[in-house]
Amino acid sequence: MAAPSMSFPRAVFAKLSPHPYLLRTLAPQPPSDAAASRTNGRAPHEARPVHIHTSSLSHAHGSALVRTGDTTVICGVRGEVLPVANIPQYRPQATQQQQQDDSHERADERGGLGRGELKDYDLLVPNIELATGCAPQFLPGVPPTTLAQTLSTRVYSLLHSCRVVDPKSLRIWYTPPTAVGDEMDTEEQQRQQEEADDGDDGPQLAAYWVLYIDLLFVSLDGNPFDAAWTAVMAALRDTKLPAVRWDPDRQAAVLQSYSQPTTTTTATAAAAVPGQDKNSVKTTPLPVAGLPVACTAAMFPEKEHGGESMAASAEATVGNRHWILLDPDRSEETLCSETITMVVDCSEGGETRIKSIEKQGGVVIGRELIRGFAGVAEKRWKEVRDAMQ
């Protein structure tokens, strides 16, 4: 009896047996001379193009919408003021020293005190929200899943280790006014000025800006970390914090509009944008150091591993082919257990600096692969940099 021929359309095949399907497209059998490609038509080293739109939200101080393929993320950066009085473990001494050290370029090497403020006082608060129905397994009504928590933590630690935000730009100073009256003679004035120079009446740190970085995933089709990190960087570069002055009577920071003269501003110079409405608030762009870009790839094995021991899998890797799939989408992520993420920054003088390397899930990716991957990450950096302009 002749066996019935079975032929399925591609989509059905992809759902029934995804692993062999992907394997067949990556390693086409000899009769076929198709190029190695993935099920979504991309080459293994091809990432999806990035589209970035900024300044789309009006209630956030900075915002960005990033789309890589079907993964869409919206990031909004909101600044709020944290008065120093509300910080339980505040240490004023450290910041006074830093004010004097501002002119020195030692901050980079030491990195100690500057980074301390951001981390100690929790001035950067990134959060990733996946429970928006972006994929069928992320429905609201449950607390954040492991994936959401891991992503938030990774973004948090990367933000702090890359030092893209300078705590100097988040400080809000307050200079108490010295009383100068007409009836006073010059001697009194001099005495008062000397007293003022003692440092007690100099500019005091009154408050900090706290940046709430909220990411909302509208749609998720694999590789959330890259998209999230790109959105964070784009939103931070787009952030414009309003110029404020500290009002001691109200114990609050008050916005300054163009019609009012500035008394004390933040340490960075206020940029007056020409053509602004007379009554609108003055804003200063947040200075962001560098442009670190994340690049993720997943490792697809020829044979499906199934919970073997380390020794067994080590043997298995010898005759087992592997493919590195850059920017994996959701179906590929489910088939691959090992991933590598590299964060590079090529903006400082054209040389590539590796900011972070993370590798988890398996034993295949070794030193040579990682070295080669740095080149791939560089190319990705250029793509993202071009998309940001």
């Binding site: 009577d249 109200r250 114990q251 609050a252």
Partner: protein, 379 residues
């Protein structure tokens, strides 16, 4: 949610009820008239530790208790800082035009905290939040309630209303909770203020000197916007062409549309009409002038009821089973007389307008309810 709780009625029972309620005049299961309310037991002053409390039992066994507590709170400015000694003239636009006294007396809807507790449901359940929102919306709709809570520029009363349904939610609890809240607010008394101006407030220790939140017998100083009575929310439903008040659980299960309407009494007009009426006939009570505060559609449980199967499609009655399943499923079966089908779509705008009119008409249901609550002794 209580309204969507599955009512354990079979399609035959539902069809019967629907047919009975669609007649003119409608025949209700307990024989009431369409606008007749069930008797209720109401009492106030049951919780000695509160500023005001009330308890109402409906005839179907549902019972609710409301306790009102008031605490003095420092007034906050819009930016979150507390009000200092200098008050900047900000505040909402609501009360500006109508206040004669100096200073901005406009209150904040934050000054009222309302919590609803229904046994068996979490307090952040969607249905409970809906009930709480409806009740607080009615209370704050005239925008002037918070003015009663004003002490001076730096302090105000924060009122906590705790609404508890004691019995399990056998029927939609909204009218019960609303009537109990109304009574409790009427019974609420705030201590008499003895301090003056903007200093830290202190009050008279004598509870007998405490004045009511809603004083009886409105004075002339009240502005037209403030009603001297708290609002009342009524549940009204329509079946066919009939409008039915105070629906029982079974009646609600066959409703075509159900609305919750909040009304309050407008006293300034009432007192003037009372004055003219006194000359004519003192025995006739002044008809209340009502204000419409809020309306919400309630999703009736009739949409979740199982449909009946007409004999033609019922294989037990000889229907052929050779029918192709997919066609039978998508084919729109015509409504067979006597076979229950859950209502689809919404309500015609005219029907809804008629419902609202019925609630608001003079001498109608709302007046009756307010009269009945008036008669409760506030102790």
């Amino acid at each position: 949610m209580a309204s969507t709780q599955h009512v354990l009625l079979s399609p035959a029972e539902l069809a019967y009820l629907h047919a009975a309620l669609s007649l003119t005049p409608p025949i209700r299961p307990d024989g009431r008239a369409p606008a007749q309310f069930r008797p209720l037991i109401a009492e106030t002053g049951i919780l000695p530790g509160t500023n005001g409390s009330a308890r109402i039992c409906f005839a179907d066994g549902t019972e609710a208790i409301v306790g009102v507590k008031a605490e003095v709170e420092r007034t906050r400015l819009a930016d979150g800082a507390t009000a200092g000694t200098e008050w900047e003239e900000g505040g909402s636009a609501r009360g500006e035009g109508e206040d004669d006294d100096g200073g901005d007396k406009a209150g904040d809807s934050d000054w009222v905290g309302l919590t609803v507790e229904i046994p068996g449901y979490r307090d952040d359940d969607a249905g409970t939040a809906f009930l709480g929102a409806m009740l607080s919306e009615a209370l704050l709709a005239d925008g002037a309630f918070a003015r009663r809570l004003w002490i001076n520029r730096r302090f105000h009363w924060k009122l906590y209303l705790d609404i508890l349904l004691i019995s399990p939610p056998l029927s939609y609890p909204l009218p019960l909770l609303s009537l109990t809240t109304h009574l409790a607010l009427l019974a609420t008394r705030l201590p008499l203020l003895k301090s003056e101006g903007d200093e830290d407030p202190f009050f008279d220790d004598d509870w007998a000197a405490a004045r009511h939140l809603y004083p009886r017998g409105s004075g002339s100083s009240r502005t037209t916007k403030e009603s001297a009575r708290p609002p009342v929310t009524l549940l009204v439903m329509a079946v066919g062409n009939n409008i039915i008040f105070d629906p029982a659980k079974e009646e609600l299960a066959v409703a075509d549309v159900a609305l919750a309407v909040s009304v309050a009494e407008d006293t300034a007009v009432a007192t003037s009409t009372a004055a003219t009426m006194d000359l004519d006939d003192a025995a006739v009570p002044a008809a209340r002038s009502l204000r419409l505060l809020s309306i919400r559609t309630i999703d009736p449980p009739s949409r979740l009821t199982p449909p009946g199967v007409p004999n033609a499609a019922n294989s037990a009655y000889g229907a052929t089973t050779a029918q192709n399943q997919p066609e039978a499923r998508t084919a729109e079966a015509e409504a067979v007389e006597g076979v229950w089908r859950a209502p689809r779509g919404g309500a015609k705008p005219l029907v809804m307008a008629a419902l609202v009119q019925k609630v608001l008409e003079k001498g109608g249901v709302a007046d009756e309810v307010l009269d009945a609550l008036d008669a409760v002794d506030l102790g």
